[in-house]
Subunit: 219 residues, 2 copies
């Protein structure tokens, strides 16, 4: 019987990719509005994506590097405008519409809820807080603190930390390689939130989380 449910955050509880794209486009628009001497926002967006790829998505130098490449001499006003627009967009993230009600229903039914996610602990907590769903979760397991990206080892350490059995656990995520396969390897049940491609390795695949409560009861 399932007692413990682990959720991935990004593109599982909210549409991360959509918000990241919007935040970056808003940042570009804000730099042009404040006077950047380049007017083609599509081209600037493409250049920004290349800069992000070059520096890695966790760098905090995306905009200053882009402005450096554009040979902007006094970049402070543009960095400030870009970062403000980016954060304003990121501040207004919303969960997938079915998520808050689902989490409340799961708690009412006695399930213990956890987050299992790659990345930085403060950033992931920030998302849960802004999504308005932080209080539903007992704890957050983040690769940075566990010491390894989501993998068999990651889930073994999580089970040890909580002193619980894999058979009582369900992992829900959108990535087969990071969320589903490693959780299966330790013996957890798995549900895939369907994205672009799927090799169909999860126990169950869903397009959204609306019927999750019924599905879990039948597991």
């Amino acid at each position: 019987m399932i007692k413990y449910i682990f959720f991935d955050i990004d593109d599982t509880l909210f549409p991360t990719s959509e918000f990241a794209q919007l935040a970056r486009k808003n940042a570009i628009r804000a730099m042009i509005e404040i006077g950047l001497p380049f007017k083609d926002s599509d081209e600037l967006y493409s250049r920004l994506l290349k800069t992000i790829q070059k520096l890695g998505s966790n760098s905090d130098r995306h905009f200053s590097e882009l402005l450096d490449e554009l040979k902007i001499k006094k970049p402070a006003r543009f960095i400030a405008a870009a970062v403000a627009a980016y954060h304003n967009t990121k501040t207004s993230i919303l969960p997938y519409p079915e998520v808050p009600r689902l989490l409340l229903a799961l708690r009412e039914q006695g399930y213990k809820l956890y987050i299992a996610t790659n990345g930085n602990a403060i950033k992931q907590w920030d998302k849960l807080i802004r999504l308005g769903i932080a209080l539903y979760f007992e704890d957050v397991f983040v690769s940075e603190e566990i010491g390894t990206e989501k993998s068999k080892e990651f889930f073994v350490k999580v089970l040890e930390a909580l002193k619980i059995k894999a058979i009582e656990c369900l992992m829900i995520g959108d990535k087969e390689d990071k969320d589903i396969l490693p959780a299966k390897e330790v013996g957890m049940r798995t549900i895939l939130r369907l994205g672009k491609s799927a090799k169909h390795v999860a126990d169950i695949e869903v397009n959204d989380l609306s019927n999750l409560l019924d599905i879990i009861k039948k597991l």
Copy 2:
């Protein structure tokens, strides 16, 4: 005749101190809401002020240091909550009510407007952008870029950079030692926005900026 007007930002164009206090109190409340095992928000606020004093106001480690002192073992959720609440408050800064209309009127009358401020260039631009008044200013002179805090030397460098004469300039600020005296030393006219204490060294003292346009015309 006055042609160029320099403004300080903090507590001259918006009530910085009020917003900083509110942002810190909101950060404390957010940490308690997310489960911090300390409930006395007044005491936590006092401790935070001590931490800020210890690290300096420009450190980005205020909350993590405070949580460290409180011996909180997994601080990520509290740091995320505090920073989100702090930034949400800081994001909603508003100028003193007379300021936007005044800046527009000054521009209409042909005055060139500048900022002369201590601190970090990106942070100061961020304030102007969030206050919705960035476009009114020709340029921002920040101590970090000029290489010295507001002083006689600072204003000499500003005059050189713009190739203008002190006699054509007016400096408006809330601090006699940082805004008024050094500007007077290079020969600028000065207006003090009255704060707590004043030695009455400015040419003119005002309680707010409502009648600035008339005052400047008479200078």
